[in-house]
Each structure stands twice: as C-alpha cells, then as structure tokens.
C-alpha cells in the first residue's frame, strides 16, 4: 500500500477549523505586515505607477469588473490560453492537486522553476488580483548554459514570460533566483509549490540553497506542496539519486525532514500504478517525451497507454 497512514491525520490538519478561520480573517482584513508587503511590492514593481496611470485614463468598466472578479478553477482551466495545456490535465490533475495543497485565491504562492509556464497559466489567473505569484529559480552554475539560460535573470524574465502566458490577468508576478536578495520577500509565502523538480535540485546541486530560500520565503504557517516522479520503494539506490527523474517517496520525506519540514499529508492524486518506474532512460521514456520510442512505433503506442509517470503528491509544513 502506497498511501501513507498519515493521510487521515493530514485531511484533518488541512480542514482544521483554526486554519480555515485564520484564512477567512486574512481575506477580510490583510494584516499590517501584508499591507506593508503589498506597498513594498508595489514600489518594486512600479504597479502603483501603473495603477495611477490607469485611473487617469478612461477605462472600460465591464472589463475591469471581470478582471477584478476572481476566476473559479473551472474557468481558469477552461480558458482558451490552455488549449494546448489541457491534454495533460488527465495526468497532472491541477484542480485536485491545488485543492490538496490548499491553494486559495489571494494567496502569495512560490512556484519553484515555472519553466515554460504550464502551472503558471493555472496559478496566476487563479490567485487573482489580490494574489502574488513568485517564480523561483535556482542559482545556476556557470557550466549550465544553453537550455538552462532560460532560468537565469528570473526577476526580469519571469514577469515578462508571464505577460506572454496570461497577459495582465490575475496575480502580481515576481521572479527570483535563490541567490537574489530575498529580504523583502522573507516570510511572505503562503505556499511553495515544487512540481517535479526534486530530482533536478539533487543532481544539479541546487538542493541546499533552494531549501534555505524556500524556508526564508515561507510564512511560519506556510506549506510546501511537492509533486515528484516516484520510484518504487525497493528501487536500487543507483537509480534514485536523481539522474532518472524518479525519487523514492521516503527519501523526499527524509530530505524535507533534514531541512526542518514535517509531512502533513500524502495523496495518490497523481499516482499511476501502470508506470513500472524503472525505465533505462529514466522518466523521459514516458509521455510527453517518449525518449527512445520513435514516432508511430508500437513501443510509442505502448507508452502512450501507460501515460505520464507515477507521482507522489506531498504536503509539508515548517517545523522549528
């Protein structure tokens, strides 16, 4: 059985009345800290200026009203901009996953390595005008070039990318690399989400600095949501160090424990029991990459039937 016994406890923790009440309070009245943060963020982004300019210009009230209204998850997922993204919803379960991570409109959410923005196109509109979306990239070793260049200069690149992804819709967008000055963002994040990057954090030496940055950014009662390719519990260690994408669930939990996080809940939302999770060429053997299986081949059809990888879905909280 793969589901952890703490699942029941987790469900309780997530639905605990105290947490819900606290959230409600936050929605009704931002704390002083949040108000200050928003002021700081406004100055940093020049949004004050933008807003002032907007108010002095004639606007379309109808369009404004629509932009102000928070979009439901269903509206977000059905938006035309996601026409190409939607094929993967069957494997990535964005609505269920974000609900499990207890992500709510208006929150400040850190998305670790947004890459080409699949989850950004869900999160930014869903968090809405009151929310903040922070794309966090690691510090890149000078040897990592070419493909990796897109992860450099996040403070300018991610907001620019976001305009291509979602226009002006939704949350304010920030970009950070872990070696940027994080002071003005410290303790502001309600959630940090790490979608299938644990193996890269390990194999490229980003783990330590990223975990420290995540701890810095997270509020004391913030949560970290992790989706990660899952190796079988008895997979050989040489297979699970990171180079094949798959990680043992127990190792991910250990890793978070070392950095002062405890497991709140584990979910099977993103499980795929048909994945043997032992591909010689790693997780990239499966869709959407199909490494080593030529287009039109029988092998490719076989892998299409298996689908995307087996994945763990874990929620952690910060402990002392």
């Amino acid at each position: 059985m793969r589901v952890l016994s703490c699942l029941a406890a987790a469900t309780m923790a997530v639905s605990t009345p105290a947490l819900a009440a606290q959230q409600q309070q936050q929605e009704e009245e931002p704390s002083t800290g949040e108000q200050i943060l928003r002021g700081v963020l406004d100055v940093l982004s020049g949004r004050n200026q933008q807003q002032q300019q907007q108010t002095t210009q004639p606007t379309q009230p109808a369009a404004d009203a629509q932009a102000e209204r928070a979009q439901t998850m269903e509206e977000v997922l059905m938006h035309p901009r996601r026409a190409d993204d939607r094929a993967r919803d069957a494997w990535r379960h964005p609505a269920e996953t974000l609900a499990f991570f207890d992500v709510e409109p208006g929150m400040t959410v850190v998305d670790y390595m947004p890459a080409t923005g699949w989850y950004s196109r869900v999160l930014i509109p869903y968090l809405g005008r009151d929310g903040n979306y922070i794309g966090l990239n690691p510090e890149l070793h000078p040897d990592l070039t070419g493909y990796w260049d897109m992860y450099r200069g996040a403070s300018s690149r991610i907001p620019a990318d976001a305009r291509d992804w979602v226009g002006q819709d939704g949350a304010r967008v920030w970009g950070l690399n872990t070696d940027d000055d994080l002071d003005s963002f410290a303790g502001t994040a309600d959630r940090v989400l790490i979608f299938r990057e644990m193996h890269n954090m390990r194999r490229f030496g980003w783990l330590h600095d990223s975990m420290l940055a995540i701890r810095t950014l997270l509020k004391d009662d913030g949560l970290v949501g992790v989706v990660q390719h899952r190796a079988r519990p008895d997979a050989p260690l040489d297979y699970t160090l990171g180079d094949n994408g798959y990680q043992r669930q127990e190792d991910v939990i250990r890793l978070f424990a070392i950095y002062g996080f405890e497991l709140v809940a584990a979910s099977e939302i993103n499980a795929n029991p048909r994945d043997p999770a032992n591909w010689e060429r790693g997780v990239w053997s499966l869709p959407p990459s199909y490494a080593g299986a030529a287009e039109g081949s029988r092998e490719r059809r076989r892998r299409a039937d298996i689908g995307e990888s087996d994945r763990m879905t874990l929620l952690f909280r910060k402990v002392d």
Binding site: G205, H208, L241, R254, D320
Partner: protein, 269 residues
C-alpha cells in the same frame, strides 16, 4: 536513549576474527599513538578517542582507507604511519572548484604539508579532490572516514555531491565512519542546520539514507554529556577553537570538546 538498537549487530561485526592483530612490520595502533610526532596532538586524544573510534569503524592497517577532508592532519598523523606499511592511505578533499593558474592544487599542498617534517614519504600518500577521483579507485575503498565535516558540507551546499563521490569510491562491502558534532534531537532546525557546527543525529542518518547508506552502528565513544550543544557562538565556543579567547575560558575547558555522534554506515543495495 541515544544508542541505536543495532548496536549489538555492530558489536558482532567488530568482534569478527578478521580484526585480530596481524600487523607484521608496521607499528601497532597504540605504538602510533605514542609516537613523538604526535606530541602536540595527543592532548586531544581524551576527546577524540582515536583508538576506540578506529576500532569501532573496523579499520585495519591492511585496508585501503580514505580520509575525507583531512584538514590540519590530526587524524592523518594517526592513520598514515599505521596504514602505509601494509595498506593504502588516501586523502580526499571536497571539490574546491577551478584552481588559480600557477598555484599548487589542494592535493599538492596537502602532500607538501604532510611531508614537511620529514616523518612521512610523499610516495605513501594518495591525495585527490572529489571531482578528480582516479578511475581505478572507484568501488575499491574499504573505509571512508569523515571526521566532523558534515556540517561544512551542508553549509557549502556540497553534501549531495560529496556523498555521491564517497559512495562511488566505496567497495561493495566498504563502510563509512562518521564523527560529527551533535545537536540535541529536540534542537530547532534553525540551530541544527549546520551553521553552528552541530547537527541532529537523526538528520545525519537521513542524509546518508537518501544517498544510499544504511546505518550499521552508532557509538557513544565520542559523546560529551557536559556539552549543552546550544552555544550561541556554535561549536567553536568550546575547545579546541575557544572563539571567545580568555572570556569564560575555564568554563569551556572544563566542559571539553563538543558532544559528538559516532556512526558507521554501509553501502545499501
């Protein structure tokens, strides 16, 4: 209780007949510990327990032994004269990155420093950085010894890389011995994350588990129950560093060196 339950299993391994003395022409460990070249080092024996620690790690002088991060060479001056006559002593340093052109490498500096007094022969020392492990050593090493280096690896964002390197060196039946400043299990992450030198024993065991090592045994040889292990100035408050100089020096000297875990791991799977 701090001792792991597998202590009994460890004791069984350590008492194996293979460990019987068979040193031939080389000095016995006790003879090495009494050598003149250790006259300044031996004051720390009461805290570092070299004989007990090396026995617990099952180190034999006929083995191929890698000392990880030898630093100022305190343990080098025990291991090298003991092992060189029959086995092989090697020193590995965490990858120090690209060196300065024209400057000697870490390995060259280590060998020069170790042989400076004339007691040791450079031919007896193999030294390399973890990114330059000689190919023919992979999978051949009997013991890797890591003395008080884990916090440094954490602080330098190097634990993942270096534990991979250690694993790649180790023979299938090889073992890793670790001594590390120990924080209380209930210490806050903010204190025990490595920045203060101290780490929680459970976290060190997790770190090795993630990188493919099973705990074989834990020992209290290097424990110091008098150390509260919560100094604001970190482990460097205590001897031998005594970072506050004369201030409260007597108190720190009465406590002695830090509380330490002593752990033995084997390569899993």
């Amino acid at each position: 209780m701090r001792l792991a339950p597998l202590f009994a299993a460890a004791a069984a391994i350590l008492a194996a007949p293979a460990l019987a003395d068979n040193h031939g022409e080389g000095p016995a460990l006790e003879e090495v510990l009494a050598m003149d070249l250790r006259s300044e080092d031996s004051a720390r024996d009461r805290y570092r327990h070299p004989a007990e620690t090396l026995r617990f790690f099952g180190v034999e002088p006929s083995m191929r032994v890698v000392e990880f991060g030898p630093g100022g060479g305190w343990y080098t001056r025990v291991l090298l004269p003991w092992i060189a006559p029959h086995g092989e002593y090697m020193a590995m340093q965490a990858d120090t990155g690209p060196g300065e052109p024209g400057q000697p490498s870490w390995a060259e500096r280590f060998i020069a420093a170790s042989t400076a007094g004339g007691a040791f022969d450079a031919d007896d020392i193999t030294a390399f950085e973890s990114d330059e492990i000689p190919e023919d050593l992979l999978g051949t090493v009997d013991r890797v010894l890591v003395f008080r280096s884990i916090h440094g690896l954490m602080n330098a964002n190097a634990a993942d890389r270096e534990l991979r390197a250690i694993r790649s060196l180790l023979a299938d039946d090889g073992l890793v011995g670790v001594v590390q400043h120990r924080a209380p299990e209930e210490a806050a992450y903010e204190y025990a994350n490595g920045a203060n030198g101290y780490m929680r024993q459970a976290d060190v065991i997790r770190l090795f588990a993630i990188h493919g090592f099973d705990l074989v045994a834990a020992s209290e040889i290097n424990a110091n129950p008098d150390d509260p292990a919560n100094w604001e100035g970190g482990v460097w408050t205590l001897p031998p560093v005594l970072r506050y100089g004369e201030e409260d020096r007597e108190r720190y000297e009465a406590i002695g060196e830090s509380d330490r875990m002593t752990l033995l791991f084997r390569k899993a799977n």
